[in-house]
């Protein structure tokens, strides 16, 4: 048996280019449907699980898919915002707990998610190191974000400037990392969490500067008119919130009018959920309430339909490929007639010759299976990220 395998191995090695082409063709033919099936299955499972775990999502009227992808997977941006007053309005109904979400800036490419402490209990996120957020300017990092940004509790990160070409806009804010979350295999691992007020400060809605009514601020005051103080451009806005300047930070306007990308509503029970959803179904309302799982099911149904077509096409290509490979082996056997006759003359039994040809085919197939399996394993590792990227790019 060893001699047959040895002869088959030597033949394949001698015809290395033909062997490589055959193995590549078979590997790709097996890998594509296998990887597609596995990646889609795993990704859709996780995507759907996060959507199903989010009972109700409220946002400004617009694309429900964009709202879901932005708020649940931190991919893309919502085209419009709703007001913080909606959080208070939901609280007043007593039907649900409202969790605000404001996802604007980024830190090292990671999304900065402004929310309330309810978010962490709702998503069952636990602190691995450090402590939860207590004050503005503090950040709690997802496990992957902390790893990528290479920061630990006690260190700091700086938000990316959103206004490179707007010198009058908001500036980067230094965030103090107070904790790192345990990994849970969701987009939360990639996020930098802050209190929603911190997100507003990053957006420039709130800011901190020296008290202009104090005598030592006189150099930065252009004009004083009773209670009205006009400052000049030299007033420096604080780029870091500390215990000493915290009281100098302030917001302008009514907090109820401040923007939010979305609100997660966690109803007390099913009936409360239906009642709350009903309140935002009127066409005149400026808020849309959606069930993320319904939106994701619609998206995934489209994905599955496309998958069926792709699998059918890949199947046809596979049949054609294997037919071609079979033809290659048949034609190869004919081309090797002289070689086979020589083997017969030197005493090789017909069975052993057949076994040698079969071993060549088996070796090619086995190598292809190993390669296809390895590639599929890699695909399952990176495929989900790829799918998320494709979904967000297509939204």
């Amino acid at each position: 048996m060893t001699d047959i395998l040895y002869l088959a191995w030597r033949y394949l090695l001698f015809n290395r280019w033909k062997t490589a082409v055959l193995i590549t063709a078979i590997t790709v033919t097996m890998f594509l449907p296998l990887a597609l099936e596995l990646v889609l299955e795993r990704s859709t499972e996780r995507l759907r699980a996060r959507a199903a775990a989010t009972p109700l999502l409220l946002g400004a009227p617009g694309s429900p898919l964009e709202l879901v992808l932005s708020s649940l997977y931190f991919n893309g941006e919502v085209p419009a915002t709703l007001s913080y007053g909606t959080v208070q309005a939901i609280g007043d109904t007593g039907l649900a707990t409202a969790i605000p979400l404001q996802i604007g800036s980024r830190v090292g490419g990671k999304p900065v998610v402004g929310t309330s402490p309810d978010y962490f209990s709702f998503r069952e996120l636990t602190v691995a190191r450090g402590r939860p957020i207590a004050l503005p300017g503090e950040a709690l990092l997802g496990a992957a974000a902390a790893r990528t940004l290479e920061v630990s509790p006690g260190e700091s990160v700086v938000t990316e400037s959103e206004t490179v070409f707007d010198v009058t806009g908001s500036y980067p804010l230094k965030l103090h990392v107070v904790g790192v979350l345990n990994a849970n295999g969701t987009p939360d691992d990639e996020a930098v969490f802050v209190d929603v007020r911190t997100a507003w400060i990053i957006d420039g809605i709130g800011h901190g500067h020296e008290d202009l009514s104090r005598p030592e601020a006189a150099a930065n005051v252009l004009q004083r008119d009773g209670e009205n103080i006009v400052a000049n451009a030299a007033v420096i806005q604080y780029r870091e919130i500390t215990s000493t300047n915290l009281r100098d930070f302030h917001f302008h306007g009514d907090i109820s009018d401040f923007p939010l990308d979305a609100i997660i509503a966690v109803p007390a029970d099913d009936k409360s959920g239906v009642l709350l959803e009903g309140r935002y179904q009127a066409p005149t309302t400026s808020v849309q309430a959606i069930r993320p799982v319904v939106v994701m099911d619609e998206l995934l149904a489209t994905v599955f339909t496309v998958r069926q077509y792709v699998l059918a096409a890949v199947g046809l290509v596979g049949v054609a490929t294997f037919a071609t490979i079979a033809l290659v082996f048949v034609l190869s056997a004919r081309l090797r007639r002289g070689e086979i006759d020589t083997m017969k003359r030197i005493g090789a039994a017909p069975g052993r010759i057949g076994a040698m040809l079969g071993a060549e085919i088996a070796l090619v197939l086995a190598t292809s299976v190993v390669f296809a399996g390895t590639l599929t394993w890699f695909a399952t590792l990176w495929g989900e990220s790829l799918l998320h990227w494709m979904l967000s790019a297509g939204a």
């Binding site: 409202a98 309330s116 402490p117 007020r197 400052a231």
Partner: protein
């Protein structure tokens, strides 16, 4: 006494809550048992003593009331540590006074669903306390309007706040309406007594050591005016000079203080024909008794001062 009970419980409750939070840390086998969860009372944190007292009166034994501000810090200007804010996060409800009292709340990471602004429906009754506007950059002028914050000094306002507390507690306290009824009756009685003791005071002239008595002033029509003097600090010569100048145009025969002024300040005020009277606001947890006993002591001092003042200044 309910208020006294609240004070005693503070430290123990904080320790209990801290222990619960610590037990919830990851990596520890800290899943609470069903019976422990069933035994746990709803925890209500407040930002001022009067709110804690009212919540305790309404909720009684059905809730745990926690007011964690230390005794040596004015709760209105207190800045809790991050650890204390995390304790607030662990509460079932956080009672806010509203009216800008305890400004730290607007910068603390607290769940909006747990916050109960007890002055929210009473904005029409809030008293303005100055405003400031500043402008810089392209955003135009920004207003920072302020309102007086010691709302509970008007017992009727406090009764309305109590109603808001009872509404918030309804989910947790089955007999909240009964507790509210008794509390409102006590506050109405207090209001009647204060109205009686303050009758005619607007003519005598009332001066306040600090601008914290606006609601008391408005409720009883005292038409008083205010300086910004601390009980434990002797006013400077310039401050005495300013007071003397104002006394030429504004009458004052009684001056209300949050705490006992120094003997030197007392003597000098008496020279000016002003009787100092301690009227504690109740912002701090009283060392003994509760809000009502504190107000009772205030009334006794007012009554005594009225007699003295009448003899000395209004024969």
């Amino acid at each position: 006494m309910p208020g006294h009970r609240t004070r005693i419980r503070n430290c123990g409750r904080i320790a209990l809550l801290a222990a619960l939070l610590a037990a919830c840390q990851p990596g520890e086998d800290a899943e609470p048992t069903a019976s422990a969860v069933a035994r746990r009372l709803p925890v209500v944190f407040t930002v001022s003593y009067p709110l804690a007292w009212m919540a305790d009166r309404i909720g009684g034994e059905a809730i745990e009331v926690v007011f964690p501000a230390p005794d040596d810090v004015d709760p209105a200007h207190w800045q809790p540590t991050p650890e204390t804010i995390l304790n607030y996060q662990g509460a079932d409800l956080v009672l806010l006074n509203g009216a800008g009292y305890a400004a730290w709340v607007q910068f603390a990471a607290l769940s909006p669903g747990k916050l109960v602004d007890t002055s929210r429906g009473l904005s029409a009754r809030l008293i303005p306390a100055g405003e400031a506007t500043h402008s810089h950059g392209p955003g135009g002028a920004h207003d920072h309007r302020n309102v007086a914050s010691h709302t509970w000094l008007d017992p009727i306002f406090a009764a309305a706040q109590a109603k808001a507390i009872a509404s918030a507690l309804e989910v947790h306290v089955p007999n909240a309406p009964a507790g509210l009824e008794r509390l409102q009756a006590d506050l109405a009685h207090l209001d009647a007594r204060l109205a009686a003791v303050f009758r005619g005071w607007s003519d005598a002239g009332v001066l306040y050591s600090h601008p914290v008595y606006q609601y008391l002033d408005a409720r009883y029509g005292l038409a008083g005016w205010s300086v910004s003097w601390e009980p434990d600090e002797h006013p400077s010569d310039a401050e005495w000079q300013r007071l003397a100048e104002r006394l030429r145009n504004q009458r004052a025969s009684v001056m209300l203080w949050e705490g006992e002024p120094s003997p030197a300040t007392t003597a000098k005020l008496r020279e000016l024909g002003i009787t100092p009277v301690v009227f504690e606001t109740g912002a701090w947890t009283p060392a003994q008794g509760d809000y009502l006993t504190l107000m009772q002591q205030n009334i006794e001092r007012l009554t005594e001062a009225r007699i003295d003042g009448g003899n000395e200044h209004h024969p």
